[in-house]
Chain length 358, copies 2
Amino acid sequence: MHEWLDSYEARDWQTTGEGTVRYALVGLGWWTTDVALPAIEGSDLGETTVLVSGSAAKAERIASEHGVEHGTDYDGFHDGDHEGAYDAVYVGTPNATHLEFVESAAELGKPVICEKPMEATVERAERMVEACESAGVPLMVAYRMQTDPAVRRARELVESGFLGEPVSVYGNNSQPLLEMIPNEDQWRLDPDLTGYGTSVMDLGIYSINTTRFLLRRDPIAVQSRLSSVGEPFDDVPDERSSFLLALEDDVHMVSTASQNGYEDTRLQLTGTEGRIELRPAFHGECSLHLARDDRSVSIEHDAFGAEEEMREEFDYFADRVLTGAEIHPDGNHGLTDMRIVRAIHRAGERDASVRLRE
Amino acid sequence: MHEWLDSYEARDWQTTGEGTVRYALVGLGWWTTDVALPAIEGSDLGETTVLVSGSAAKAERIASEHGVEHGTDYDGFHDGDHEGAYDAVYVGTPNATHLEFVESAAELGKPVICEKPMEATVERAERMVEACESAGVPLMVAYRMQTDPAVRRARELVESGFLGEPVSVYGNNSQPLLEMIPNEDQWRLDPDLTGYGTSVMDLGIYSINTTRFLLRRDPIAVQSRLSSVGEPFDDVPDERSSFLLALEDDVHMVSTASQNGYEDTRLQLTGTEGRIELRPAFHGECSLHLARDDRSVSIEHDAFGAEEEMREEFDYFADRVLTGAEIHPDGNHGLTDMRIVRAIHRAGERDASVRLRE
């Protein structure tokens, strides 16, 4: 097993240690304030200078609590308030509102890191890509798993042949949404704000994107089952979802997600020669469980000298912004996920297989 | 966690400790000689008195090596050779030949324990059930997971509400068949002998049947993907398989199986309140990994005072034969699996969802 584990380099993506990207954070929900803001605070190359919320008072209050210079409301952001005070924009609002903020950022010439899923629909995500491309502004979709050191190490193992030929993949991502956010009117259950649905858009996307990243293979066709059994989930089709993806090279992927289940995140890759499991997988403490021949080993997340995963993501983005280098999880990469999610919803509605354009 | 783990009773099914069932074992492949024969030898209520093979010389040789009284060939078995020397018949031949031996056993009035899958096709499995019913002979299908003490304990946990409401299930069963049996002409790859295919019939059936047993819920509709990518698998459709089952009460099940993959067996049940994992699941060393609230615990197979699992199965069968009590995994139970496997193959061929008769 040792020969497989000796070559790891943390932050293999890093090209500069100098410079600072000043961020405007748009959308002050718990993820932005409790996760993104501290992650930037702890990052090497980032600093938060502007907070943007629906309410200017809320933005200013949170700004002063966190020692951030400026706060403004959404209209102010669109009007260019404090545009000299920030270099890049993080968009962490509900899915269906991402586009308007990315469009304004693009008009202001600011690089953007936008939360996933990119938008409520494929069409709106396409408009987002067009807006950034025509303004010549870099767009990163915030797939934090791609800069998680354990996930990057797993990808190196796949590339070096640890699995042999990949055969099958299983992903699960379930959480008790209404225990975490005890509000039945939240945006993740509102089709006008969430888009196609809730468990695939919000949770299943982790299994999909992390698998695409690890295996460098995309789905060709999807089958699925979607169902909502509890009353708070009446307006979305997928309190629970399960889907079966045919990946390139005939790799079989199955996955489940639930917004009303015991918390569990895992991704398992089985090959002809070995197995790689990420368990837990998706909540910032990814551990690897490896097996090959008759040996197995577990590597806890701490062993990777792992920084908080959003910090890695923000430093990666800042590194790219500062040097002008290409961003990997870009808008087109995110668009592929949007098309996969749409196909999963179509397959569920039609109770039939849906092919993705190759 | 303790309150969930205090009530286990080993062999909760046992009703008698007296008597002996003398077996004729039909089909002397490695499973019968290396697993079934020693299991009966170690059992409380069983004894092997007759061995039956395609070759009388082979049957007699193995009989003398193991101190078994009689050996005969298939024709001899059909003709009633040594019928006074055995009370019951174990059928461990290739799938497509089960029926003829069960029919002869039924004619001879001998109770039967037949390996799974029952037969090559639903129609032949139906004939098997009819043969036993019209002869008034008990028929058990050899689902050894159902008498595995860890699996029985997991079922008690499900029944007592450990999971809350079941939400999703994942099963995987993969093995490197051609490393285990290095022969490309083996019956598991021959459609005339295996039936619908290989990975669902031989491996996926474990995930399906164990889930039915644990949750007491059957599938209503199936979707699937089947593929054979390597040349030795050209004659069967499913070197690899993945399937998505809609179980009763809207439980979502996804599953993968491969005859050309790294050995891995697991079954994971996720509910609204907890998680039960069997890992490994299907090869005689089933361990439980439980999580609920913020606690988790692993119980290795040894902790169940677990007997070799085939011994449990044979003693269960003998207990039922000796007392005349009902057998649970009976022919009709096995028929349901055959219909599920056929539906999985049809869904794969049609690339569309297939409903099972309810």
